[in-house]
Structures are given as C-alpha cells and as structure tokens.
C-alpha cells in the first residue's frame, strides 16, 4: 500500500510540471504588462525608460525558463503573487474563500449521502413497487431542474415568502441551509438513480442466490455484500462530485452571495485578475490529483482483487 502511494506520487511529478508550465505560460503570454501595472500602482510615470527599468527590476527581461523557475520557487514558498484588483496576496484571497467552499461542499456531500444511500437501497429492494415508482418519478423531475432555478425558488419561498432564511447569506451556519439544499438536490437525485441501478445489478448476481440458498439473512446479504460491492460505484460518483464542489459552485455561490471559490474566480475573470485565476487553476489541479488518488486508494481497500494483485507484483 505504501509502495503504491509512493509510486503514484512519483507519477504526479510530470503532471504537475505540465500544469505549472501551462499555467505560467498563460500569464506570460497575457496582454497585460505587470511592469506597467506596478508603475501605475506605485503612482509613477509610465514612460519607455521607467518601464524598461521596472522590467529589469522585476526580472521580466529574463528568458522564459528563468522566469518560470522563479515563479515555481515562489509557488513552493506559497507565494502566488498579488491580486491585480485588490493588491493583496493571492494566497490570502484564496485562503479567505476556501473555508466557505469547503464547508458548503461538506454539507452538500453529507446531505446527499445521507439521503441517497437509504433511498437508493429502498428503491432497489422494492423494485417496481409503488415506493420505487414514486422515487423514480421524483428523482427524474428533481434531476432535470437546473440549479439556478432551484436556488431562486428556494429563495423566493423560504426567504421572501416565509422569511425563514436570509436572502443574502452572512456566512453563518443557518445561511448555509438553502445553498446546501440547492447543491444537494440535483446530486441526490442523480445518486439515488445510480445507487439503485448499481444495487439492482448487484442483487442479480449469482452469489446473492447462493447466499439465499444457505439461508443467509437478507440484511447480511444487503449490507455486508450487496451494498459493500456497490460502494465502488458510489465512490466513483463521490470522487467526481467532490472535485466539482471544491472548485466552488459559481452559480449557487453567486445566487446566494456565498463568498466561496466559485464567486472569487468568476469576479477575477470579469476583471482580468490573472494571478487569482492562476491560483485557482493550481487549486483545481491539486483537488483533482488528490481526489483521483483517494478514489484509487479506496478501490484498493474495497476490492481485494486489485489489492492482492498489487501486493504480489
């Protein structure tokens, strides 16, 4: 297992090099001139001479690779540059948004799991019953509603009409309820359908009949065998969702004025705030690489066939 993690980590190096080169390259080629910005920021006169002096000062006249090297070195020190818009370090800006994105992602995922696993299981076990039919219709409807529509409806009903929830969030726990529901609704509907399908497929396998022939209790069959084997599907879904949520969910964050990563990057794009966008891209790369690694590791834990073949090799 440790050997595997180590090997996976080595495989990451070329990926990270690729991402940083592309990321830096975009910045390098972007039409805005950092030296000019710096001059304006300091209130100095912009002329050919001052620009050239400032470029030399900032190392911008050096070749691409040297600039890239310096940028990567700063990256490792946690320095992603400063935001054009606010003049504050990118790290600080991201650091402020991250807790909001993380907490919203966590509540949405937890809510999705708590609702969808039991309902997916129930729907599968009662296949073609009234309950199954009801769940299938509702998840179909819920799954096709676009997120912004759900969000606006929730704001209208609970915020404006019933006044149970603040319309503009203040970052408090209670103001998380509506954005969480908005995010979780579509995911839950998708999860229920997929979990139902995975469990039905598993229930059809011969070992289930084999266990019944030995009089094994249905709850053992369901929880220790069928659900466990279906976990692979659930984890694959989870990996995708977590990656998506940690990127910040721009639409929901903007609708609910939730100060997370999605909102940050949308505003940065509007204002051509390249350092922030760059920091965001790095963050996404980190998420996807780690989510992938964790997903793979859980496969290994759950499926002894992969685990054992790896140990022998």
């Amino acid at each position: 297992m440790l050997k595997y993690i180590y090997r996976r980590a080595l495989q990451l190096i070329p990926i990270l090099i690729g991402i940083t080169i592309i990321n830096f390259g975009i910045m390098y080629l972007s039409p805005s001139d950092p030296a000019e910005r710096e001059l304006v920021l300091r209130g100095m006169m912009v002329s050919q001479e001052t620009l050239a002096a400032m470029r030399a000062d900032m190392g911008l006249d050096q070749p691409f690779w040297i600039q890239y090297g310096r940028w990567v070195k700063n990256l490792f020190k946690g320095d992603l540059g400063t935001s054009f818009a606010s003049g504050r370090p990118v790290m600080v800006e991201i650091g402020e948004c991250l807790p909001y994105t993380l907490s919203l992602a966590a509540t949405a995922i937890i809510m999705t799991m708590v609702v969808s696993i039991p309902l997916g299981l129930l729907s599968a076990v009662r296949q073609n019953g009234i309950l199954d039919y009801l769940i299938r219709v509702l998840t179909f409807v819920g799954g096709t509603m676009p997120g912004f529509l759900v969000g606006l409806l929730l704001i209208y009903v609970f915020g404006l009409r019933l006044k149970w929830q603040p319309v503009i969030s203040d970052g408090s726990w209670s103001s998380m309820v509506l954005p969480t529901i908005t995010l979780a609704l579509a995911m839950t509907c998708k999860y229920i359908r997929q979990i139902r399908a995975a469990i039905l497929e598993e229930l059809d396998k011969e070992y289930v009949w084999g266990a019944r022939a030995r009089g094994v209790k249905e709850k053992y069959i369901l929880y220790r065998n069928v659900l466990k084997n279906s976990m692979l599907t659930i984890i694959t879904l989870l990996g995708i969702s977590i990656g998506y949520l940690l990127g910040g969910t721009a639409i929901v964050e903007i609708i609910f004025t939730w100060p997370g990563m999605g909102k940050l990057v949308m505003e940065a794009i509007n204002m051509r705030d390249y350092p922030i966008v760059q920091g965001y891209v790095i963050w996404m790369a980190v998420i996807f690489v780690s989510v992938n690694l964790i997903t793979d590791l859980s496969y290994r834990l759950l499926n002894p066939r992969i685990r054992l073949s790896e140990e022998v090799a």
Partner: protein
C-alpha cells in the same frame, strides 16, 4: 422401509400459464442419494428451486405439494423458509466461482451462514468450518478460510461451496450439476466429497447431472426427467442396467465413449414451452412410437419392486 424425508406430489410449476414441471411426483428417504438426469431444459433446475423455495421471479408453483420431514414447504412463510434453508436443506449450484462473493473471504461466507442460523462466536465458527473442511479432505483449511474465492481454483471453489452448504449439517442437499464445470480429476474429488457427506453426516443428496457416469457411481436411486416429468425411476442398477423407457435407453446410448465421441445423439427436440401434446411427450422422437403413444399420456408403471417407467410399450428392459 426407511423414513421418508422429501415428498413431492403432483407438482406443477409454470410461467405465464406455460407449464415447465407438469405434475411430477417423487419421494426420497433419509440419507438417500437420488440422481436426476435429463436433457437441458426439461425442468431439473426448476424442480430443485421449487423445493428450496427460490424460484426465479417469473416462475410460480401452480399446484401440488412438497413436504420435507412432514413440513409443508409450500405453506411456510418466507422467513420460516429461510430458516429452513441452509439449516435443514441446502443447495449447491453449478458455478461455484459465481456463487461466492469475490470481495469477501471464504471465512466470511462460513461466518455469515452460521450466524444466520445460530448464535455463535467468530472464533468457534471458524474452527468448526475448518474442522468440517478437514473432515472432507480439503487440505489446509485455515488458508482456505483466509482466501478470497478468486485466489482458489475452480475445483477448490466447488468443493468449498459443498462444504459451505453442509456447515449447518442439513439433512438434504440439493446439488444442481455440481460437477459440470470441473475437469475429470476434480470432478472425482467433488463426487467423493459428496459421498463422504452422506457417510459422515447422513445427508440425503438430490443430485442433478448430465454425467451418467457420476450418476451410476454415486446414486442409489436414479430418476430420468423428460419435458417436465419423470419418465423412469428406480434403483440405480435397474435403471442404468436395464433401462425400460426408450428415452432412457437413448440417453444411455448417447453417453460419450472414451474418445469423447457421442455415439448416438437423440434426433429431434422435446416439445417447446407451452406446446401441449395429447399423448406421450417423447412420442415424436421415439422410434417405437405407436398410435396409443400419440393419443394417451402414459403413467408411471411399476415394472419391478424398484423400477418404474412411464411408457405404453411393454418393453423387455434392454440389457446393456
């Protein structure tokens, strides 16, 4: 006569009004080994699954009765049927690799089976499982218990499945082609394992097999099924040695010789599902068929005290 263990009376099983098992009657004594043979599709698996109350969703028992040691199996609630399954009667299926869950160890299979029927602590349960496997000549039971199904060979899985089925010492084991997927040497091991079950634990065995060699070797009583009915039934030597029904004779003649060549396959095919013939279902394929065969259904007739056949013709049983 020894005590009766299983009694199937006039059993009919069908799907959407089409009969698969068409009024079959059969009984087994305690500790008896009964072998069933018959062409693919004649309803052997359906019969076995009816007994264990695990018919596929589309199939249903439409009439008849099944009693097991005096218990009306068809009248049991599904929970009571579950309690009986595995503890007093059990099933071993053909494809062992698929009948076991690949993501759990053999030991967990034993554990969950035992815990479904009795309160038992893990250590004791695993020791019992190991003892059982050792008594059935499976070597290194501890290693087997710690293994996953995919780590064992197909033959080993099949033998494990047989031991697993026996862990609660049921009185009746239904085995649906338990050796068909195995090569000859492993087949012999699985067969001797089943014979040992009977010797050591007194289990009765109803074995379905296409392999007449296996049948002749281990069964005391042999039944031949055709198109949802028993066409011949009786003591092993009587049926295998002096087959009376033309279908049994053809089946025995069709056994591959040592080179694996089928000597004489039976022409034609049985009536398809839902096709109802007024007379004997075998008559269209029977070289001896006469008018009566096409018009009247033959009943099982007693030929000798231990030998029955459902055929109108008064054949002198063929000596072979």
């Amino acid at each position: 006569m020894a005590e009766e263990l299983l009694k199937i009376t006039d059993l009919k099983v069908g799907t959407r009004g089409l009969e698969i098992v068409k009024g079959l009657t059969l009984s087994m004594r305690k500790g008896e080994i009964l072998g069933l043979a018959g062409e693919s599709g004649c309803g052997k698996s359906t019969l076995i699954k009816s007994v264990i109350r695990l018919l596929a969703p589309g199939l249903a028992i439409t009439s008849g009765s099944i009693t097991f040691d005096g218990i009306d199996l068809l009248g049991l609630s599904s929970e009571n049927a579950r309690k009986l399954r595995g503890r007093r009667l059990t099933l071993v299926s053909q494809n062992a690799v698929e009948a076991l869950n690949d993501t759990r160890t053999i030991g967990s299979h034993f554990l969950e089976t035992m815990k479904s029927h009795v309160k038992i602590e893990k250590k004791k349960a695993l020791r019992e499982a190991a003892d059982l496997m050792a008594s059935l000549d499976l070597s290194d039971p501890e290693r087997i218990l710690a293994s996953y199904p995919f780590e064992l060979s197909g033959g080993m899985n099949q033998r494990v499945l047989i031991a697993l089925a026996m862990v609660m010492r049921p009185e009746l084991m239904l085995a649906d082609e338990p050796t068909s997927a195995l090569d000859a040497a492993v087949q012999a091991q699985a067969v001797s394992e089943m014979i040992k079950l009977r010797e050591k634990y007194g289990a009765a065995i109803l074995i379905v097999t296409h392999n007449l060699g296996v049948l002749a070797h281990m069964a005391e009583t042999v039944g031949v099924m055709y198109s949802g009915l028993l066409v011949e039934y009786g003591q092993n030597q009587a049926v295998m040695g002096r087959p009376a029904h033309p279908y049994t004779q053809a089946l025995i003649a069709a056994v591959p010789d040592l080179q694996g060549q089928m000597k004489d396959t039976i022409e034609g095919s049985p009536p398809s599902l839902g096709e109802i013939l007024p007379g004997c279902d075998f008559s269209p394929r029977c070289q001896f068929a006469q008018e009566v065969c096409q018009n009247v259904k033959p009943e099982l007739r007693k030929l000798s005290p231990d030998h029955y056949a459902a055929c109108h013709l008064d054949f002198k049983p063929l000596d072979s």
